[in-house]
């Protein structure tokens, strides 16, 4: 025994890990394989039985991995660049073309920074707070329909779910502010709580008009009801609702001029004062993803979601059935690259004496790839409505993201009491007025 202990102590840490880990992995792997082999059939049946759950989980994973981080990167870069241009600065222009990789580098920096935990904080809460904030923000993305058939889940209470999860956001903020044992954080948290409570109400009420018109809370069907030209959008039927929703959305996303929670001139960084490293990065990401979500919501509710602003001639019935080609398909797939390469490369070889045949072929091959990709994309764009929808949706959303950044670049910050007063004295009555007006109109005019 002592010999074993002595041997164990002579091992390096990696060696110990391997020594223990490899057998464990083998055993567990074997067990899993056997288990799957035994349970395969019922498992498949179960998954097949409730596809919605599968779709939900997959969509969640996809959104977290694929959607949020790149989106946040793009929004951050947009903010850096746009505000810089409004300040007559250049903004980031060193990393990548036009500094487009700046936010990526920011992310790396944040990752590589020390994850510091100050003395006196409530460690578990302090650690969980960024996760809570980030997750609640990401969860809101699940029900946002980006294109026909391209959404995480289509609840029939989608809007309700949105506001519920979005409201959970403030819980994370409160955890952060309370746990970090710092007065700035505390003040920022209390502001955040008060603000989100005050602005949830006009936010929700301003949408009631839309719900009345649509007769449903499912975002998907709200969008589909706005199909047609841009005259069919809710923005025309609900201008007041749009205004209220926009203002309340600014407050919900904690953006200037209503960013009370981290008013960096007053409370140093608000609830995030004590955070550093990737924990701060989570707050950062959450904020910008939030901006994206809110803009997407504005688009979905008032600007027709993925619908094109004018009657787009689609779906084009492009009767292109690969199966019809039969054996020709094989030839096509087999010969197209060769022929395309030669055909596209030939002119270079003929026109320039300095280009050898090999170089010409390489150029031709590259060009062919470009052409092929372009062709496939065009085909998809014309024949798959989701591609068009996605393009329109993203485009509209980023218009509103730009508006948010634009406001941040322009406006000073309002004071807390003014903020509250505005919410309760102006937005709330206006929202109620909007509801009554809409209801009356529906009753009088009818659908």
């Amino acid at each position: 025994m002592s010999a074993v202990a002595a041997y164990w102590h002579r091992l390096t840490i990696p060696a110990r890990i391997l020594l223990v880990g490899v057998p464990v992995v083998l055993v567990v792997g074997a067990a899993v394989t056997v288990g799957l082999a035994l349970l395969a059939e019922p498992l498949v049946d179960f998954l097949g039985a409730n596809m919605g759950l599968v779709r939900f989980v997959v969509a969640a994973l996809l959104i977290i991995v694929v959607a949020t981080v790149p989106t946040a990167f793009v929004v951050i870069y947009l903010e850096l660049k746009v505000i810089a241009r409004m300040n007559l600065r250049v903004g980031p222009d060193r990393v990548g073309p036009y500094g487009s990789l700046m936010s990526v580098v920011h992310g790396l920096k944040v990752l590589s920074k020390e994850d510091f935990t100050p003395s006196g904080v409530d460690v578990p809460v302090f650690t969980l707070a960024p996760v809570a904030v980030f997750l609640t923000t990401v969860m809101t993305l699940l029900v946002v329909p980006f294109a026909p058939g391209l959404y995480g889940q289509d609840f029939n209470i989608g809007l309700l779910y949105l506001f519920a999860v979005g409201g959970l956001n403030v819980v994370g903020l409160m955890m952060a502010g309370w746990a970090s044992y710092n007065k700035y954080a505390l003040l920022g948290t209390l502001r955040a709580a008060a603000q989100s409570i005050s602005y949830e109400i006009p936010l929700t009420l301003s949408v009631v008009g839309v719900i009345i018109l649509a007769g449903t809370m499912s975002l998907n069907s709200i969008v589909t009801q706005q199909a047609g030209s841009f005259l069919d959008w809710n923005a025309w039927r609900q201008p007041l609702g749009l205004l209220i929703f926009f203002i309340a959305a600014i407050a919900e996303a904690n953006r200037t001029p209503l960013d009370m929670t981290e008013a960096d001139q007053e409370l140093v960084a608000g609830f995030a004062t004590e955070y550093s490293g990737m924990r701060f990065g989570f707050f950062f990401f959450a904020e910008y993803v939030n901006v994206f979500v809110v803009s997407a919501l504005i688009v979905v509710l008032f600007f027709g979601g993925w619908n094109a602003p004018f009657d787009w001639p689609w779906p084009v019935t492009l009767s292109l059935d690969p199966g019809a080609l039969g054996i020709g398909l094989v030839f096509l797939i087999g010969l197209a690259p060769v022929v395309g390469t030669i055909v596209l490369g030939l002119p270079f070889w003929l026109l320039s004496s300095r280009i050898s045949a090999l170089q010409a072929l390489v150029i031709g091959f590259l060009l062919f790839n470009l052409v092929a990709v372009a062709a496939v994309l065009a085909w998809a764009f014309i024949s798959f409505d989701w591609a068009v929808g996605l393009a329109w949706m993203i485009g509209k959303t980023f218009v509103f993201v730009f508006v948010f950044v634009w406001m941040r670049g322009t406006l000073p910050r309002v004071r807390v009491d003014q903020l509250m007063g505005f919410a309760w004295k102006w937005l709330l009555p206006a929202a109620l007025l909007n509801i009554f007006a809409t209801a009356a109109a529906v009753v009088v005019i009818g659908k």
Binding site: M86, L88, R89, V90, D93, W406, T410, L411
Partner: protein, 277 residues
Amino acid sequence: MSRVPGMGIARGMAFTLRRFFQPAETVRYPEVTPEIAPRFRGRLQLLYDEHGTLKCETCFQCAQACPIECIDMGGRDTKDRYALHWGAPETYAERREESALRRSGREVPDPVYERFEPVDVAAVDRILEAHDHDPRRMLTILQEVQAEFGRLPVAALKRISFRTGAWYAMVYGTATYYRTFRFERPVRSVAVCRCTDCLLAGGGRLAEGLAGGLRAELGRRTPDGRIAYEWLPTHVPGAAAPLVALDGEPQPEVTVRNATAWAQALTGEHPALRTTR
């Protein structure tokens, strides 16, 4: 504020949007260097003369004139005898731990008397007392110190600057400015004549005696390097043979017999210069 609520905000937004499309005023520094006014005083530079040697002779006059003591220099002194420093102690490795000691409040061994060849500062203090530690009488103080030691030991200069409160650069600048001050010990020359009649008169044995007394070969220096033992180029006209010259002065009293004793007496001169450890 305009009457329409939100009008100012809208106007401001329009304004920033216009700015958004204006060209940026940024100067991309490494690629584009802004032209700096010819009057700009900001650049510190060391000038080289036409032979490519540094013009700065480390006299510290600039450093002491700098009101905010931002000039911070170190180097060899003009005759390349020892290293000089001007500036914050932290700048120089050999003084870092010293200032660290001082900041920690402990007793600091003052390096002034250790780095250079030590002399007995009592003599310096006596002179300073006589002059009331007045830096404005620096010239006379230095003259008296030189009269005392036959030269200006660096340790003495440090002591003077430490006691009078004059910057070391002032003291050192004054000392290097006047030709009468010297930092080395005076090298005295003991010369024997090698002309025929001196040799006939026993110059050879005289030379050996001197060599024994000075503990130096002919043409070499004494071990402490203060006396050069050489031969006269020409016989001093009218001097008796064999001829020994001290600093070119014929020494008729030196004979073959007392040569060694005289040389030994010569080597032991200037008691003040004897190092006191």
